[in-house]
């Protein structure tokens, strides 16, 4: 085999491998479309962030005495609770399927919702430790203001947030139980929350109609409450609107998600697809 033939052979192999991956990716059409929209969410986030940074009202729209660093650190640290809540339930379900323990778990005296709830405790505990470390580094090295924060209020907001987010997580796990892959619930909630939830900029920089949309997602109340408690030193009374919003989400989402999950579980017991990937 001469050098030219050898090079052509390698190029052909590379082309075949590329074509293999493209064909597999193309077979998941929904994922293809979702990725295009994911890019839109990312671009929109950067657009609103730049609008906020260039805005003359930058300082006035931040909580009193807190710079943008503290504002963004709280946003980033606590946005992760939403991500963990959305992924932890479906992750534990996927893991149990993969390591072959799902059927063995399901024939015990413990219901699947309890197993999923228990499986979410460690990820939340780990995240709380990580958040503490985030804030600790921020305070130790970069002047993040820890003093004067309403910590009991922050813990209350965080607890209510975890309940509200968990409702969304259980809905997401229900989807996975029935449809096995791809998850528009996760995708829509995380994407929308990252744009309108106030993670990197206050929702006041959004157009009016997006500010209305923001009122219909729990992360908005969670981040508002968290910033008010930690950075704004808000009293319990002042935190009440955020807390009430989160409790309302939890009161609606948790029963709905448990009912949906029960239906999804029953459905898989009828179709025999409980352990399918």
């Amino acid at each position: 085999m001469n050098d030219t033939t050898h090079v052509r052979m390698i190029l052909r192999k590379l082309a075949l491998l590329f074509r293999r991956d493209f064909s597999v990716a193309r077979s998941y059409r929904a994922a293809f479309i979702l990725e295009a929209f994911q890019a839109l969410f990312a671009v929109a986030s950067f657009y609103f962030l730049s609008r906020f940074i260039e805005s003359p009202q930058l300082e006035s729209s931040l909580p009193q005495g807190a710079g943008y660093f503290a504002f963004a650190l709280v946003g980033l640290a606590f946005f992760d609770y939403l991500s963990v809540a959305l992924h932890t339930f479906e992750e534990s379900l996927r893991e149990a399927r993969q390591n072959g323990t799902l059927e063995n778990l399901l024939v015990t005296q413990t219901s699947l919702p309890v197993i999923l709830a228990g499986s979410s405790l460690y990820p939340f505990a780990l995240l709380s430790l990580r958040t503490t470390i985030y804030l600790g580094w921020g305070a130790a090295l970069f002047g993040f203001p820890l003093r004067g924060a309403n910590w009991p209020g922050a813990i209350l907001i965080l607890t209510a947030s975890v309940f509200a987010f968990s409702g969304l997580g259980i809905l997401s796990a229900s989807y996975l139980l029935v449809f096995k892959r791809g998850n528009p619930v996760n995708w829509a909630v995380v994407g929308l929350s990252s744009v309108v939830g106030g993670m990197l900029y206050p929702i006041s920089v959004l157009p009016k109609w997006l500010q209305v949309v923001a009122r219909f997602i729990p992360i908005t109340y969670s981040l508002e409450g968290m910033r008010a408690a930690i950075l704004g030193h808000a009293t319990m009374h002042e935190l009440w609107p955020s807390l009430a919003g989160l409790l309302a989400f939890a009161a609606i989402l948790l029963p709905v998600s448990f009912a949906t999950f029960s239906l999804a579980l029953r459905r898989t017991k009828i179709t025999g697809t409980l352990t399918h990937f």
């Binding site: 072959g100 323990t101 399901l106 024939v107 015990t108």
Partner: protein, 267 residues
Amino acid sequence: MNTFALSVENVEKYFPPAASGWRALLHPVSRQTVPALRGISFELNHGEVMAVVGANGAGKSTLLRILTTLLIPTRGRAHVCGFDVAREPAKVRLQIGYHTGADACFYSRLSGRENLTLFAGLNNLSAEETTWRIAELTDLFDLGPLLDRQVRTLSTGNIHRLGLARAMLHQPSVLLLDEPTRSLDPLAAAEFRRFLLDQIVARRGTAVLFASHSLAEVEQLAGRVAVLDGGRLLGCDTPAGLAAGAGAETLEQSLEILTRRAAQGPQ
């Protein structure tokens, strides 16, 4: 009052046709038209061992999954120790131990003891009960040297012994085994069968229903054999009874004759 360990009355199971992608999304509730079990009826007495045999796709695993409450039958009723599998799944799960021949069925990075402790807790055993049950099962299953090793370091045979120990943690009345010796070598399989008969059936009086492809295993373990083919029960009798009914000399011949007759349809 239902006094059988298991009773299955006219159980039918139909699955919806497989669907994926947008079709699955747009029609999540399609009609169940693919038959897996058709009109299955039999009983299993306490302390009895029965085998379910049949070709791949005959319905053996579907039947076991219905009895473990992992599937809901389309029609008919099944009871475990008098409890309805569809209406009283929690009570049924209290009565059954379930073990499949799959190699991956534990948390491989946890030790055998940690796995057993977890599953004991999930089966409502208190910390004290868990300790003495694990000690008892360690003696019974000779698990001593294995118990504190990570499951991923155990041989397939030892994982199956651990699996049986897990299935017996809450002292179930009925043991359901799906191809329990599927991935065992002949020696380990023989040891497993001896163990099942001596320690679980003879000593504990536990009723056992197991699915298997090994007719030698079936003849050695089972008092009665249920023959499934295409979701139908072709016969349920002792190996000798099946042979006599089919005019055959061995269990293997009986199965051949019964499935051939079923394929030819009613004369």
